[in-house]
């Protein structure tokens, strides 16, 4: 296809992506080095029968004019990045000097909001991605043994946790797991503790969020692995059977290597998707126990005072983290295709 034709066909889509994905990243970068203008303080003299006295007051008009004239704010360099809500460089330095050991340092570090959110996001991604892939693979193997008539309905019900809106799927699970819901009652009975509440405990909240993550991600892995299982070459399987391989050995030596490219592809997509976990935390009302990077940004943007600069700084750090996560794949792709 000629260059000019390609340009015109690609223009609408490319322009949309440039305007609404590339430019916001730059906008976020710019916003993160500005802080809102502080209020303009003036000194007012009050003269009465007993003499004059000065007091300070906020000049609302001047403040408003300043904020309207320069909506971006005042340039603060990397002050927002290093403040307590973000990288907290001074607090980290203090914790390093005053802590008694690595464990103590880490527990002090995790009390800082940003590092706590980072840890939860990384843990969630590291746990949910492999577990969902494994679970999906096992379901695919199992569904493959079903008679043809049952496969359709089985796939229908398996797709549901993935298709439903994340916020709503998490709400549905949350209402069941709540202390007053059916699963909450069941867990209390199993643990013989009528006061056990998942909402009150941080480790249990983390566990519940990850269970939701696996429940909603497994169908995707299931469908892709199921399709992949249909393409496993029959003759390789048959020769393995003739050679005396048990079903487990067949899976391990024939099926799994064949599905490896699919696994890498899915792992990439799922790592990207799990890193931006955010809706379950809203549904589970888990902000007190578990915050993710995206929820941190959402919290800054929502609420009564919009902390645009703070959310911009967290956004920049999040984008950098995502790029770091993507870099092995990008490097490998560049190495494979860039040379040919």
């Amino acid at each position: 296809m000629k260059h000019k034709t390609f340009f015109w066909f690609m223009l609408p889509s490319g322009l949309a992506m440039l305007l609404f994905i590339a430019l916001p990243i730059i906008s976020v970068l710019i916003q993160s080095v500005y802080a809102p203008h502080e209020q303009v303080i003036i000194e007012v003299e009050n003269c009465g029968p007993f003499g004059c006295e000065t007091s300070t007051a906020v000049d609302q008009d001047a403040t408003r004019d300043l904020r309207e004239a320069e909506p971006l704010g005042r340039f603060v360099g990397n002050n927002i990045y290093t403040d307590r809500n973000h990288l907290a460089t001074s607090e980290v330095g203090l914790a390093w000097q005053s802590s008694t050991g690595i464990g103590d340092f880490f527990s002090k570090l995790l009390n800082l909001p940003f590092y706590g959110a980072l840890l939860f996001t990384l843990t969630y991604t590291a746990v949910v991605t492999p577990m969902a892939l494994i679970f999906g693979f096992v379901i695919a193997l199992a569904v493959n043994t079903l008679p043809k008539l049952l496969k359709g309905p089985m796939i229908f019900f398996s797709l549901l946790p993935m298709i439903v809106t994340p916020l709503i799927g998490a709400l549905i699970l949350f209402w069941m797991i709540d202390a007053r819901g059916v699963l909450g009652a069941f867990i209390q009975w199993v643990a013989s503790d009528p006061n056990l509440s998942l909402k009150a405990s941080t480790p249990l909240t983390w566990a519940m969020l990850m269970v939701y993550g696996i429940w909603s991600s497994a169908p995707f892995a299931f469908v892709v692995y199921y399709a992949g299982l249909q393409t496993v070459p029959d003759d390789t399987l048959e020769s393995a059977m003739i050679d005396g391989a048990t079903p487990f050995e067949r899976i391990r030596y024939v099926v799994l290597p064949h599905l490896l490219p699919l696994t890498t592809f899915m792992a990439l997509i799922k790592i990207m998707d799990n890193f931006r976990v955010f809706e379950p935390i809203v549904s589970f009302n888990a902000a007190a126990h578990a915050q993710s990077l995206s929820y941190f940004i959402f919290n800054d943007l929502g609420g009564e005072t919009q902390l645009l600069s703070s959310s911009a700084a967290t956004s920049v750090i999040t984008i950098i983290c995502v790029s770091i996560l993507l870099s092995p794949v990008l490097y490998r792709t560049w190495r494979d295709f860039g040379k040919s």
């Binding site: 994905i21 916003q31 699970l173």
Partner: protein
């Protein structure tokens, strides 16, 4: 030897089927439970004293005179004007799908036919864009949108959602277009068509299966969106998902949580129907990019 082996395999088969039944319950039961419970009152569905009340509906009988009640639905749809949110979602989803597919088919066609290296790099850049968490992009939109008076309007959200979904749409459509033989449009151009005429007369009639599948996923992305819609829309023109999130804040009043339960069921019902009718397309869409690589 053969008998022992058969016994071992039939045990394995039994375990497999038990596992499948457990998975079926885990996948489907929450939805059925919530559907059943949406017709009860709060005291039954969220009963600390006795969870079987959700099944028998004791308090529902006491409070409303019947085992089932539509009070949750009435409160959400009429009192809280959920029907407005549903209308907004309908408008938004239809517009996002239409515009997204128009832009995506043009771009995907170009990417599938180009033999130059830059097409590959463009797809890679699109993949990087797809990895960006939407909430970080929203953080970048808010200040400019406030300044230029674009915040709070439905068309703004539509344009933003189209743009954010372009990477995914492009990847899917490029893979579908690669399966349409190049000879078709090449022979059309040999016959004297401009590239756009070739696209319009030759490609468009045969591209529908791939376009329907991609349209399904575009619809899901727009319908299920929360981060963008909740931050860019005002209270008056919210779509369904942010409206449900706003119900959650008001559930301290007794009975209001049932509004959230019934609206959750209302939002999930169309998705059920969607999967029921388009199951094959959804499965083929999920595997298309993956299996063919």
């Amino acid at each position: 030897m053969a008998v022992v082996q058969n016994k071992k395999y039939s045990v394995a088969l039994m375990l497999t089927w038990v596992f499948l039944v457990v998975w079926l319950i885990v996948a489907a039961f929450p939805f059925l439970w919530t559907l059943w419970g949406s017709f009860k009152v709060e005291g039954d569905f969220f009963s600390k004293a006795d969870w079987t009340r959700a099944l028998t509906g004791e308090l529902t009988q006491v409070e409303t005179g019947g085992v089932f009640t539509g009070a949750g639905y009435e409160g959400a749809w009429i009192k809280e004007e959920f029907w407005k949110a549903a209308l907004n979602t309908l408008i938004m989803s239809v517009c996002v799908v239409t515009v997204s597919l128009t832009l995506g088919t043009l771009g995907g066609y170009a990417l599938s036919r180009s033999t130059f290296r830059y097409a590959f790099w463009l797809l890679l850049v699109a993949l990087i864009f797809r990895a960006m968490p939407p909430i970080t992009l929203v953080s970048g939109y808010l200040l400019p949108f406030y300044e230029w008076n674009l915040w709070g309007h439905l068309p703004t959200t539509i344009v933003v959602l189209v743009a954010i979904n372009q990477p995914f749409t492009l990847w899917m459509l490029t893979s579908f277009f690669r399966n349409i033989p190049k000879d078709l449009d090449e022979s059309a151009m040999v016959d004297g068509c401009t590239p756009f005429q070739a696209f319009r007369h030759v490609i468009i009639p045969v591209m529908w299966p791939g376009v329907i599948t991609t349209g399904l996923f575009s619809f899901l992305l727009a319908y299920n969106d929360f981060a963008v819609t909740t931050m860019l829309l005002s209270k008056e023109n919210q779509t369904m998902v942010p409206k449900i999130a706003s119900f959650l804040g008001t559930t301290q009043t007794k009975g209001n949580v049932m509004f959230a339960v019934s609206s959750v069921v209302s939002v999930t019902a169309p998705l059920f129907v969607l999967v029921l009718f388009f199951q094959r397309q959804i499965v083929s869409g999920l595997t298309a990019g993956a299996v063919k690589g």
